[in-house]
């Protein structure tokens, strides 16, 4: 059993209304050093298999198909076998 982590984030250049709101909240709390903040999604998967490359390939396929929307989102896959 391998563990995988999938990070989905909005593509650069796409306005992130949630991120902007949280950024403003941080500023109003005095955390002025924060330059930018983007919100994304984090998913943990438990998957059967031991071949790391194959698992990465399969999970990337999942990302392309459903876990992310390639029009507006980027994704990153980490697999620990």
């Amino acid at each position: 059993m391998a563990e995988a982590r999938v990070y989905v984030s909005l593509k650069k250049g796409i306005l992130d209304p949630q991120g902007k709101t949280i950024l403003r909240a941080l500023h109003s709390l005095g955390f002025d050093e924060v330059e930018d903040l983007r919100i994304g999604k984090y998913m943990e998967l438990k998957v059967n298999g031991a071949d790391k490359d194959e698992l990465e390939r399969r999970i990337s396929e999942m990302c392309e198909k459903i876990l992310a929307n390639p029009i507006i989102e980027d994704y990153r896959v980490e697999v620990e076998t």
């Binding site: 796409i14 306005l15 209304p17 459903i66 929307n69 507006i72």
Partner: protein
């Protein structure tokens, strides 16, 4: 004309669409369960609004893999008419049947109110009964109506007359202040290149009787009926 209204787990405008098509417009209408794959006999498929699969992951992301969607893809590619309203529009985007993607409203609020939209083209089957530039008063009710599409794709869509509706003022000015959700270039509705698939955020089924505060939604229903050679008296 025979309409099929698709029911996903979480659809909630299916009855409204069914009622308007059957009772107000006097057409044949039946529900299509999302696991059905037989669309034979239908002239037009309606993907209604709601919260299919609880909007989990992204709006429409799970619904687009329902068995009915494969059938709808085939139905549309052979020229069948498909309209997605609100959540239905979001599903069509996720399915890749219409270009673009939906993001959360720029103000992060669910917005439920009447808006004005301008008919940008009346050469589609969905707007042929309206005038170009005509302003329709139709309500929106959504949290994710912030339509986005890559720039090059947008330019292509404009060239092919795929921008069908834009949010505007009562007089028809398309300005940022009349954009309720941050949608790129105030876009409220788009169609595919062939014109047989329409997606729109406003709810025409909620503006199809005087009692509802507007009957402008009828322009869309009358257009598709007229396009198919059916004239109705309402």
């Amino acid at each position: 004309m025979r309409f099929g209204v698709v029911v996903f787990p979480g659809s909630n405008c299916d009855h409204d669409c069914f009622y308007v098509l059957k009772e107000v417009l006097g057409q044949e209408a039946s529900y299509v369960w999302h696991e059905d794959t037989d669309l034979s006999g239908f002239d037009c498929i309606v993907l209604p609004g709601g919260f299919s699969y609880g909007d989990y992951l992204r709006t429409g992301a799970v619904a687009r893999f329902s068995p009915v969607m494969g059938a709808i893809e085939k139905f549309a590619s052979s020229g069948g008419f498909v309209v997605g309203i609100c959540n239905g529009f979001q599903i069509l985007l996720e399915a890749g049947l219409l270009p673009g993607a939906m993001m959360r409203n720029i103000g992060l609020k669910f917005i439920c109110r009447f808006v004005n939209i301008r008919v940008e083209t009346n050469t589609t089957p969905w707007t042929c009964g309206a005038g170009k530039g005509q302003i329709l008063k139709i309500p929106i009710a959504h949290n994710e109506g912030n339509y986005q599409v890559p720039y090059e794709m947008l330019e292509k869509m404009k060239r092919h007359g795929q921008i069908v509706f834009r949010y505007c003022s009562e007089e028809g000015s398309v300005l940022n202040e009349f954009n309720p959700n941050g949608a790129i270039e105030n876009i409220a509705g788009v169609c595919n290149r062939e014109g047989n698939i329409l997606g729109m955020m406003p709810h025409p089924e909620r503006a199809s009787e005087i009692e509802m505060g507007s009957t402008d939604g009828l322009f869309i229903w009358r257009s598709i009926l007229g396009h198919c050679g059916v004239n109705v008296s309402v």
